[in-house]
Symmetry: C2
Subunit: 156 residues, 2 copies
Amino acid sequence: MGIDPGIADTGFGVIEKNQQGNLICLTYGSIKTQARLPIDERLNILAQELKKLIKKYRPNLMAVEQLFFCKNVKTALVVGQARGVVLLVAKQNRVPIVEFTPLQVKQAVSTYGQASKMQVQKMVKLLLNLDKIPRPDDAADALAIAICAGNSVRNS
Amino acid sequence: MGIDPGIADTGFGVIEKNQQGNLICLTYGSIKTQARLPIDERLNILAQELKKLIKKYRPNLMAVEQLFFCKNVKTALVVGQARGVVLLVAKQNRVPIVEFTPLQVKQAVSTYGQASKMQVQKMVKLLLNLDKIPRPDDAADALAIAICAGNSVRNS
C-alpha cells in the first residue's frame, strides 16, 4: 500500500505481486476531508478511513515518501500532521512502514530520476496495465510509491 | 491540559481552576521518545502516553499553540507529525481542542506579548505557586498554554 499524505486529500494505492512477479493494482483513490471541519476531526476521518483500507486489504507494507518538499513551513506543518496520523495508524495496525526518497519513487517507475509528474503518471498506468491515468494526482503518486515498494521486496 | 508537541519531547501541563478561580497545577512533564526508534514507534509511544494522561486527568480541554514558528521546513514536518498525533488522540478520546496563538499564550502569563522564554517560565511558576521553575522547557511551555486556556474559560 502506497500512501501520499495530505489534510485535504490523502492518496492511496494498493497493489500486489502475482506469482509471475507482475504488479497488479487492487485499488486506488483518495481520502478527502472537508476544509470546513476542524483539524482534529479531519485527522480523525483520515485515521478512520485509512484503518478501513488496512482492514480490507491487509497490506504487508505501507510505503511513504521519506522527505517532503513543501513550498513553505506552514504547508510542511499541515502535511506533517497528516503524515503523523498515517504512520501512527500503520503502527497501531501492525503494518510495517517503508520509506523511499522521491528520487527512488521516480526511478522505480521511469528508470530515470528526472521524470515529470505526467511521465510518472503515464508509467504508473502502463506498469499496472490500467485503462486510464489514475486520478486524482495524489492517488497516482501513491501508486508510484506502492510500485517502488513492490519492486523492492522479494516475491513471496 | 496544555500540550507542546514534539517528536523527542512533548511537554504537558495539567491545571484546574478551583472554586475561588485560582489555577492549580495538577501535574506537568514531558513525554520523551528515543531518537534511535523508528518514527512510527515514536509516534505510537507519544499516542499511548498521552492517552494515559487523558485517562488519568480527564481534562475538559486540550490546549495547543495555533501556529508553529519553525526554523525550517524539515523541522516543521517533524513537529507537524507529533502535532497530528496529539490532535488525533484528543479527538479519539473526546477532548475538545482549543488553539491559541503564541502571542495569546505570552499575554496570558505576562500581560504583554514580548516576554522572553525565561520571563514566561518565571510567571508560570508564580501563577501556579510552584516551588521552582518547571522543567524541561517544553513542560513550562505546556503549562503556559494551559494557563492561557484556563483564563479563557468560565469558572464551572
